[in-house]
């Protein structure tokens, strides 16, 4: 069995995950095994969606021709791969949607955001897939910032009860498309590890500088590509708008069903929007490069 740290959790896994941080521990929070997944959740209180079943403490996801996944009780993942499928594909969806299900089952709030760290504080870049979070994060890595996390940030209150909101990283890897590597300094990033054999998107590891601690959030940018924008515009959002927009940035928010979980998120986001400035960046859908994005926000960083 392999032992890892990821998303703030100790993970005991039958599958090898080069993306996760190997550590030693006595007690695991989550187990990952290869096996037979249940056909549907145990109880009757669940929602059936196109490729999934969602219950408060169970989640089943079926990606045809790739893998079927089960996530239960915030502590157990079963992967049932289609024979012959490559391991990268199995890992990719497990570390995304399936881990999000686990985190929701545990009452956490995974935000769809990348983050960089400077002087022990975090700047988050939230936004849907394709907004440009990872590329901007990679660019900032060459400007004196350390990459904290890519894609998912786990949000929580200060463990010691102080004011402010803290974040835990997902794992020490950032995913960059082929063209993003070209756009950035090509020497810093490699085209060695594809996220899936068919996709020209590459894993970049940053184990050496990885910070698995809980760090305070200093500011948040939400990136919105829109067909209606001609320019890059940055505005500071008021508390209500910040709350509304951040609510939408919960990772795979379709998975949030229970009222209890919504209440936890409400409280976290209320606290977050009271303490942390939130900026909205709107940018044209196409034709924006990351250097322009950086120029537009550099005075606010």
């Amino acid at each position: 069995m392999f032992r890892y740290w990821g998303f703030g959790l100790n993970i005991l896994s039958q599958i090898e995950f080069p993306e996760l941080l190997p550590i030693a521990f006595d007690k695991e929070d989550v187990t990952i095994e290869i096996g037979i997944t249940p056909l549907k959740p145990e109880g009757v209180d669940f929602v059936k969606r196109p490729f999934s079943y969602i219950a408060e403490k169970e989640y089943i996801l079926n990606i045809r021709n790739v893998c079927r996944y089960y996530a239960g009780n915030g502590s157990k993942i079963i992967a049932e791969p289609v024979p012959g499928i490559d391991e990268r594909s199995i890992r990719l969806f497990l570390l995304g949607t399936v881990m999000a299900a686990i985190l929701y089952q545990r009452g956490s709030l995974p935000l769809h955001a990348a983050a960089v760290e400077k002087n022990g504080k975090l700047t988050l870049f939230a936004g849907k897939s394709g907004a440009g979070k990872s590329t901007l994060t990679a660019l900032l890595a060459s400007k004196g910032y350390s990459v904290f996390t890519d894609d998912i940030c786990v949000i929580h209150s200060d463990p010691e009860g102080k004011a402010g909101i803290y974040c835990t990283a997902s794992y020490p890897m950032i995913k960059l498309w082929d063209d993003a590597i070209t756009q950035l300094d090509g020497d810093l990033y490699t085209r060695e590890y594809k996220i899936r054999p068919e996709l020209p998107k590459y894993e970049q590891f940053f184990f050496e500088n990885f910070n698995s601690g809980q760090l305070p959030v200093e500011k948040i940018f939400i990136i919105h590509p829109t067909g209606l924008s001609q320019n890059i515009d940055v505005i500071k959002l008021n508390t209500i708008k910040s709350f509304r927009q951040l609510e939408q940035q919960a990772y795979k928010n379709q998975l949030i069903l229970s009222k209890k979980l919504r209440a936890v998120h409400f409280s976290l986001l209320s606290k977050l929007t009271q303490h942390v400035p939130v900026y909205e960046i709107t940018r044209p859908q196409v034709g924006t490069n990351t250097a322009q994005l950086f120029e537009a926000i550099k005075n606010l960083l």
Partner: protein
């Protein structure tokens, strides 16, 4: 419109590109909107190849999927989507009526009420397609004859743009796919009939879809969605569905433009290659 009781909630507005689909959607908008059309907010319900809709329901990022995988999942996304609908939805589609890699239809037949297939003389499509794609007449001519023709094709068959790749095929194959394969009812509406005999043609489509509309409402909708109205709106405010490369979306709206646009060889080749279907729909 009465609330739907059964599962057949989608009307597909299918066509080869540049065959009058937008015009038909403008007509439907006017019909459902008291005779008013604003071209940048058509009241029909998007396009089948919408990647954002897929991502909303699939719970995995389509960017992490191959085109083949998306095509194997998209019918189930629309089944789920349709199950949420309280009223009939009209969805544009340029994909040919084809199967995925496992042999299943990409269009979910069980949630479909019917399809309107809008057909246009392929000779006239050429110039319109060249304008839309900002390419030469010869390039557009080749698209109509290319069995592998796809719209919104992305490098490496990736899914990173707003729309998925749409496999269209050549003109005849596209027509045949939609008129012969589906098990749901399909009515073929000729662009040329929309132009020369609008009241009868649009009325026929309205009845076919099972919509309720008075002759006056249909006439008003035809009037509001006339080429002149749409084109003048585009000149005034622009049109968001125009490609970045193309100068204008609404070009001439006439029939028979091909006589000035195509050379003899192109005309003969198109007629020869698409003879069967052109004859069937009175284009020869």
């Amino acid at each position: 419109m009465p609330e739907l009781k059964n599962s057949e909630k989608i009307v597909w507005l299918a066509s080869f590109p540049k065959s009058g689909n937008t015009w038909f959607r403008a007509f439907l908008t006017a019909l459902m909107n008291n005779g008013k059309v604003e071209i940048n907010s058509l009241k029909t319900d998007g396009i089948f190849s919408d990647r954002i809709l897929f991502d909303l329901y699939a719970e995995v990022e389509s960017r992490d999927l191959t085109d083949k995988e998306v095509k194997m999942m998209i019918a189930d996304v629309y089944r789920f989507y349709a199950a949420q609908l309280k009223k009939l939805h009209f969805i544009k589609v340029h994909d040919a009526f084809e199967t995925d890699d496992s042999g299943l239809n990409i269009i979910p037949e069980d949630v479909t009420r019917c399809a309107i297939y809008i057909i246009r003389n392929p000779l006239d499509i050429v110039g319109s397609l060249a304008n839309h794609s900002a390419c030469s007449i010869q390039d557009a001519f080749e698209m109509l004859n290319n069995h592998n023709y796809s719209l919104a094709k992305q490098q490496g068959n990736l899914n990173r743009n707003a729309q998925f790749r749409q496999y269209v095929s050549d003109w005849s194959s596209h027509v045949k796919s939609w008129t012969r394969k589906p098990s749901f009812p399909v009515i073929v509406i000729r662009y040329e009939d929309m132009l020369t005999n609008p009241f009868e043609t649009f009325s026929k489509a309205v009845t076919f879809m099972g919509l309720e509309a008075t002759p006056d409402q249909i006439s008003a909708a035809i009037q509001a969605s006339s080429f002149e109205q749409l084109s003048s709106q585009e000149s005034e405010k622009g049109f968001q569905e125009k490609t970045r490369k193309s100068k204008q979306f609404f070009r001439s709206g006439k029939m028979g433009i091909w006589k000035q646009e195509l050379n003899q060889e192109q005309i003969l080749t198109l007629r020869e290659k698409h003879e069967e279907i052109m004859r069937m729909y009175n284009y020869l």
